[in-house]
Amino acid sequence: MSQTMFDKIWNTHVIAGEPGNPQLMYVDLQLLHEVTSPQAFEGLRENNRKVRRPDRNFATMDHNVPTVDIFNIKDAISRKQIDTLGKNAKEFGVRLAGMGSEDQGIVHVIGPQLGLTQPGMIIVCGDSHTATHGAFGSIAFGIGTSEVEHVLATQTIWQTKPKTMGIHVHGKLPRGVFSKDIIMGIIAREGVAFGTGYAVEFYGDTIRNMSMEERMTICNMSIEGGAKMGSIQPDQVTYDYISGRKYAPKQMDKAIEYWKQFSTDDEAAFDRVIDFDVSSLAPFVSWGTNPGMSVPIDKAFPEIKNNDDEKAYEYIGLKPGETAEEIPIRFAFFGSCTNGRLSDLKVAASALKGRHIAEGVTALVVPGSREIKNKAEELGLDKIFKDAGCEWREPGCSACLGMNPDRVPVGVHCASTSNRNFEGRQGAGARTHLASPAMVAAAAIHGHFIDIRKEAI
């Protein structure tokens, strides 16, 4: 019987248990951050347990990090969480990219950047955007804190094998349309729960022609469609990305030979297949309070169909029939594990070069990691952003979730390259509009979204 890439990776990690029941799976790599790990370490301490494989765990601080001066943490509780992870990492011998380290950054940015994320692995982290790492041909998913503790203690996890779904993405992306629009388009069409219970694999010529960074954006938002795992088969693009990185395998040829086994035999191996043609896809903008509530830039917001729509319109302060060009944008956020990588900053900078953001707009540019910040500065991107009126910040999760001082004020419409437009996500009363970095840059310049396909960028 034909198998999916997912089946093959899964099968190489089963320690105990039968298919259909929870199975005990080996975890190759666990990534940790300060918000979802303190209770896990505390649990170990209470039970006098140790970290079974410190070498298979890696920690950093990202959610609470202030982006103006990372060392000046005014919020005492934020500081306590960060200090606690520092102490826990030391006590339990876990590697840490701590405050100010060259390796520090958003956990889903640094895993790949350091070469920790590799094909064929099972990777977990106490964060739902762990799906990002699936772009390398791994099984990667978010877990809760009790599971973090379990992985620390045993380097394993109990999981019931999900069903598999193939998403065939094909066609040439039109100018002004990006990988962010693909995943937003899929979720808008299929809904926010279409992937629940499934491990999703994205494949097709569109995916093959993408860089690793573009692939990560797509896998990152799998969870917004309900799929806790989204992956892409590894290929030469993947191997070239990993090669030479800090924790990349020393014997790359041997590793690549091993990784090559992780491919899907044929479409019949999936439990479900859906088709997505991108050749006439338009840039997407979210209008509501979940990532499925979004429309192509040239379409009006939908009619109210249920209570959820009504509540969403009430919160967001917009009406059915209006368009994204009418949203008064007063805040723009560039960053996050979805779109905070160097290529994202390059796209935004090329749109902003020689321009200025509209009067009354606040724009934050937050690189996903220290390394990305340094590289962007070598390229002079920081100067382009600053000249355009944006604030160039230190790396971190920033205004994606407002656990640090970066928040969108009450009632303000924010064009955001992040991943969630839930009520209050970017700050109490904040109105988030998800879009690609190019769309957010254009919205910052004009004070409202525009159809960037019609403008030279």
């Binding site: 918000v35 959610h63 762990t130 009790s146 380097q155 926010v192 209050g424």
Partner: protein
């Protein structure tokens, strides 16, 4: 974990679909390093008016719902962020059972680790449960896998392993330590490229 067999109590209906974990417990309350103390902030943005006063229209705040421990709700409950704090907040508030149409995968796994019984029932059965009066009790019988309401009885599915854990109040890590030999064998045969 406390063993769970039969729970008889009153209900709180919040019949909205796609309730995400940002609504269950907003991010400003995730900074604690403990597992307790989150109950007062459960559903914070819906439960409190600007200025911090309780919203009298929200079900959790209604005096007649006080002491209820069975939440009746919509589809795709607990979607979004993986924060286990959402489960801790429900438990800390006093919720023992959630009855939804479906759950996000991560939330469901988190519920199994904390003795929060998460049951899925179809819309027509949940509609009946949501419409009973505030002082009326229903019974959730885990060994028999049924929810009893008046003369009606609704069957629910649960994985035998999770059921075993709930009924016996078992700790996952202790169970897994029993597989140490298999884990060691697995590690001995892993490929290495360094």
């Amino acid at each position: 974990m406390k063993p769970i067999t039969t729970i008889t109590n009153t209900t709180i209906p919040i019949m909205k679909e796609n309730i995400d974990t940002d609504q269950l417990i907003p991010k400003q309350f995730l900074k604690n390093i403990l597992k307790t103390g989150y109950g007062k902030d459960l559903f914070y943005d819906w439960r409190y008016l600007p200025g911090g006063k309780a919203n009298p229209d929200f079900e959790l705040n209604k005096p007649e719902r006080k002491g209820a421990s069975i939440l009746i709700t919509g589809d795709n409950f607990g979607c979004g962020s993986s924060r286990e704090h959402a489960v801790w907040a429900l438990k800390d508030f006093g919720i023992e059972v959630v009855i939804a149409g479906s759950y996000s995968d991560i939330f469901y796994m988190n519920s199994t680790k904390n003795g929060l019984l998460a049951i899925a029932l179809p819309a027509d059965e949940r509609k009946i449960l949501a419409e009973i009066s505030a002082n009326e009790k229903i019974t959730v019988n885990l060994p028999d896998q049924v929810v009893q309401c008046r003369d009606k009885s609704f069957h629910f599915e649960i994985d035998p392993l999770w059921k075993h854990k709930f009924v016996n109040g078992l700790d996952d890590i202790a169970i897994t330590f029993g597989y140490e030999k298999q884990i060691e064998d697995y590690e001995a045969h892993m490929p290495s490229f360094n």
